[in-house]
């Protein structure tokens, strides 16, 4: 593999980015760390830090920065992982749900409403419990499991009062009675790298919230669904979250700047190594001009 100059775009170096940096440097790739907070993005010409790289790796912690960064990279003609299409689709739960539905990927039944009155009607139609989520957000923040009409009225009033317009886009979902765990599959262009289940007492079984993690074997049916879900949102390096329904799986979230430290600890696979393998093959396939041999 030729040496590639990778621009790792970040605003915070998490343990995940340190794992990636180590894997890239161990392979002899040149890594330019690019703090996106220091950059200014011209409409036509890339900032100097972006201009000299072979590929950009979007590891922005902030979704807004990620979506705009990838769009600028696309406009400049600089290869970026993940693509702007993938980032835009995965950054917004409405966009993700629409993409999954269009591709025929099983996903929880969802309704979107723009007023508290319409949202309350949607909640009542689902019955209790049901789930209310922010359209942008991660780590299980601001998820609400609604158990009664009085709780629904209170939560909707709070959301409307929060002020930001995004909180007045009410994303209501059927509650999936999962078996105390959900499944995270890390996939590269639809090919599973590793998977884990995340178990806990709380209805939100998120590693960031302290769920216990354990390696999960990816059978053929799950692998096929992961490939389908990945293609639905534009592919790339993704964290695909699924729940078991008793008759199969349902995809409830796809993460485009996927964190994998918990997964790396839970499985035997060298996750950052596998990600770099894929990055190398992606650059080769795209025939990106490389920096040397």
């Amino acid at each position: 593999m030729v040496s590639v100059k990778v621009g790792l775009c970040y605003s915070r170096i998490r343990h995940d980015e340190k794992l990636l940096l180590s894997a890239l440097r161990e392979r002899g790739h040149a890594v330019e760390k690019i703090d996106v907070r220091d950059q200014q993005f011209d409409l036509a010409d890339p900032p100097a830090a972006l201009a000299e790289v072979d590929v950009l790796l979007d590891r922005c912690l902030a979704t807004s920065r990620s979506t705009y960064l990838t769009q600028f990279a696309a406009a400049y003609g600089i290869p970026v992982v993940n693509s702007a299409e993938t980032a835009t689709t995965c950054a917004d739960k409405v966009e993700t749900s629409l993409a999954l539905e269009a591709a025929g990927v099983p996903t929880p039944e969802t309704k979107v409403a723009f007023t508290t009155g319409a949202a309350l009607e949607a909640i009542e139609a689902f019955g209790y419990p049901c789930v209310l989520k922010p359209v942008v957000g991660s780590w299980g923040r601001l998820l609400a499991k609604i158990d009664s009409r009085s709780a629904a009225e209170a939560i909707l009033e709070h959301k409307e009062t929060l002020g930001h317009y995004e909180h007045s886009v009410f994303y209501v979902q059927a509650f999936v009675d999962k078996p105390g765990r959900d499944i995270r599959v890390l996939a590269c262009d639809g090919e599973p790298v590793a998977a884990m289940c995340r178990s806990g007492e709380h209805w939100v079984t998120n590693a960031a919230n302290g769920a216990k993690t354990q390696e999960f074997a990816v059978e053929d049916d799950l692998a096929a669904l992961v490939a389908q879900a990945s293609a639905a949102v534009g592919g790339g390096l993704l964290g695909i979250d699924l729940m078991e329904t008793g008759t199969g799986y349902t995809v409830h979230e796809i993460n485009h700047t996927v964190e994998f430290k918990a997964l790396n600890d839970a499985v035997a696979v060298d996750v950052p190594g596998a990600v770099v393998d894929w990055l190398e093959s992606t650059v080769e396939t795209a025939a990106v001009p490389a920096g040397g041999d």
Partner: protein, 54 residues
Amino acid sequence: MVDCIECGGELSLYDDIEAGEILDCSTCGAELEVLEVDPVEVDKAPELQQDWGE
């Protein structure tokens, strides 16, 4: 070692510390962002934003 800018306590540093990394002060609990590594310079870490995540 680097001093916490909140309480003045001393923080031990890893050898592979990176600019952009967050350090937790074990004395006062402050989150500090590494701005520079040679020499190490820290500042208060930004507060959590609603669109942060993966």
